[in-house]
């Protein structure tokens, strides 16, 4: 690799730029269009600039109860995030030693990741339907359903977020210097102290990354939720429903708001990660600098 940039660099750089435009261009089109004037339609040109369509979303006129769906998705996303972080870190620690069923758990996680979502969704729906039937047959005549946001819906989301969490943990521990733990143990730290004061601070930036995946994947999840969410809808499900009925830019306004939440979460996570990394560098140990 010589110092001067070759011609292929410029070709590839142009290709990459085109790809990034392809990724972001359409999204920004609807962010702009959500500020359409009151008489504006679904396409360009802009017919004035206004916040009318955002107002429509908030007042809920015409559209289903978006504010409620918004709250539900937010709550579910936060719960999924916390569970994804806790379960992934815990399992990630387990994988550093060998335990019975380690290979099985690994393959199950991969299978869950690549399983067509509709099959997972159908399976969970069936499971809860059979459970309901069983409960009703057992005598609870006024039983409606065990299916819901925080039962079947939560489970469905976890089958999607946990594999990502586990794979990130693998990536972390592949690079982890276990001599640090040994040093802590040699200095008399208990396993919990070793984890709390040595391991956790080092892996924390990546753990924040797991949280980011947990929340955003749940916030936007659609295919696995479709059959498992019960009587109420999450935000993406409502959005999908609106694609066939709505002919006004309020759907763009809703899309812009939904994305704004995603971007806010991404931004916060990245800031936290950067701050943590900077702190590590500042307070960082002299590890890796050799013996003096």
């Amino acid at each position: 690799m010589n110092e001067k940039r070759s011609r292929s660099f410029y070709l590839l750089a142009a290709f990459f730029t085109a790809y990034v435009l392809f990724l972001y261009g359409p999204m920004f089109a609807i962010y702009i269009l959500s500020f359409q004037g009151p008489d504006g339609g679904l396409t360009f040109p802009m017919n004035g600039v206004s916040l009318v369509w955002f107002g429509k979303v908030f007042s809920g006129s015409g559209i289903v109860d978006i504010a409620a769906a918004f709250r539900r998705s937010l709550q579910l996303g936060l719960v999924v995030m916390v569970l994804t972080v806790v379960l992934s870190v815990s399992a990630g620690l387990a994988f550093r030693r060998s335990f019975r069923g380690a290979t099985l758990l690994f393959y199950v996680a991969i299978a869950s990741l690549i399983m067509p979502s509709i099959i997972t969704s159908l399976g969970i729906a069936l499971e809860f339907r059979l459970l309901d039937d069983f409960i009703i047959k057992s005598g609870a005549a006024d039983w409606t359903t065990a299916m819901g946001l925080f039962t079947s819906g939560l489970g469905a989301h976890l089958t999607w977020t946990l594999p990502f969490g586990l794979l990130i943990m693998f990536a972390i521990f592949n690079r982890f210097d276990s001599r640090l733990e040994e040093a802590a143990r040699d200095l008399g730290a208990t396993p919990w102290q070793t984890f709390r004061h040595v391991v956790l601070p080092i892996i924390l930036p990546s753990v924040v990354g797991i949280g980011l995946f947990g929340f955003t994947l749940s916030w936007d999840e659609l295919a696995r939720s479709s059959q498992t969410i019960g009587p109420v809808n999450t935000l993406p499900l409502d959005l999908q429903g609106l694609t066939t009925t709505v002919t006004k830019p309020d759907i763009y306004a809703l899309g812009t708001l939904t994305s704004a939440v995603s971007f806010l979460v991404i931004f916060l996570a990245l800031v936290v990660i950067l701050v943590l990394q900077a702190r590590q560098r500042r307070h960082g140990s002299d590890a890796g600098k050799g013996l003096v």
């Binding site: 990459f16 790809y19 690549i114």
Partner: protein
């Protein structure tokens, strides 16, 4: 690697403190098992058991409004209805699967081509670590935003009065708006590529970043052209990433019903959509039978791909 070294040191430490090594080891595996148990539990209840139930219920009977727990292959026979009677014409299910495979193949080749090129640029042409992180992040951020919104986003561009049609009319290339731009197979493939190229970029980049740069220099020194280096050095070494990315994209597209639904204007049939339709009609055994068929085909494709590479080794 490092953890293995660590275990070796562990044993020596335990011998010093005079605790029997095997006891210590048992305790450790038990703790590890406890740590992994919650995740295993979630997968058991929400993944393994549901899959088992899908398989069982696929062989149940059903009527218009409920499933009947009695053995019947009606779910399967209904699915393949007319497949023999209609010969030589293809029955609905075969046509649907052919269409799904076609969409899958198109999406796979496009995502592979784009994903490989993007990963190649990031891995070999971006020299500073910081830039590599920033540009990778730039490719990842859309993945953290909503798929539905990224689909809707094509409407103002591809619609009858969209930017593309306006533009083409403006320069006089077409007189009437192109109808096949939106709610067509074209828009489905476009959206699938748009949404899922990310799943190719990440594993391929991951494979490429581990390629020893000296190998490439050696190839150049030995007189290989850029193209020869690409074909004989980079592609073989990036194969694991290519296979993993392909598995992702193929399984996603085979089971997709959301993108095909929204971008196909709910008019295009696919393997995933059949299941959804059956579910909406509350024909659970039929939906389950279709899920088993889809699963079978997906497993076939994956096992064919994993023959090429040991996936576990690459993670």
């Amino acid at each position: 690697m490092q953890s293995k070294g660590g275990q070796g040191v562990d044993k020596s430490c335990c011998a010093i403190t005079a605790i029997h090594p095997s006891m210590m080891q048992d305790r450790k595996t038990f703790v590890a098992w406890l740590q992994a148990a919650p995740m295993m539990l979630v997968f058991s209840v929400f993944f393994l058991l549901p899959l088992l139930l899908v398989t069982i219920v696929s062989a149940w009977d059903y009527n218009e409004y409920e499933m009947i727990p009695a053995f019947s292959l009606r779910g399967y026979s209904d699915t393949f209805e007319g497949c023999i009677a209609d010969l030589p014409n293809l029955c609905t299910i075969l046509k649907t699967y052919l269409k799904t495979l076609k969409l899958c193949l198109l999406t796979w080749s496009l995502t592979l081509l784009i994903g490989f090129t993007v990963a190649y640029f990031l891995a070999f042409h971006v020299r500073s670590k910081t830039w590599q992180i920033v540009l990778t992040l730039l490719c990842t951020i859309p993945f953290w935003t909503s798929n539905v919104i990224r689909m809707i986003a094509w409407i103002p561009l591809l619609g009858r009065n969209g930017l593309v049609n306006r533009g083409l009319e403006g320069v006089g290339l077409i007189r009437q708006p192109l109808e096949w731009l939106l709610f067509s197979e074209f828009s489905v493939v476009l959206a699938l590529v748009h949404l899922f190229t990310f799943f190719m970029v990440v594993p391929i980049f991951n494979s490429m970043i581990r390629i020893d740069k000296r190998l490439i220099e050696a190839a150049y020194d030995a007189g290989a052209t850029g193209w020869q280096t690409l074909v004989n050095v980079v592609i073989p070494l990036a194969k694991p990433g290519i296979v993993i990315g392909s598995i992702f994209v193929i399984t996603i597209v085979m089971g997709d019903f959301v993108t095909i639904g929204v971008m196909g204007g709910q008019q295009i049939a696919s393997a995933g959509k059949i299941i959804e339709t059956r579910l909406n009609a509350l024909q659970f055994p039929a939906a389950a039978a279709n899920a088993v068929i889809l699963l079978g085909i997906t497993i076939l494709i994956i096992s064919a791909l994993t023959r090429i590479v040991d996936v576990r080794k690459e993670l």
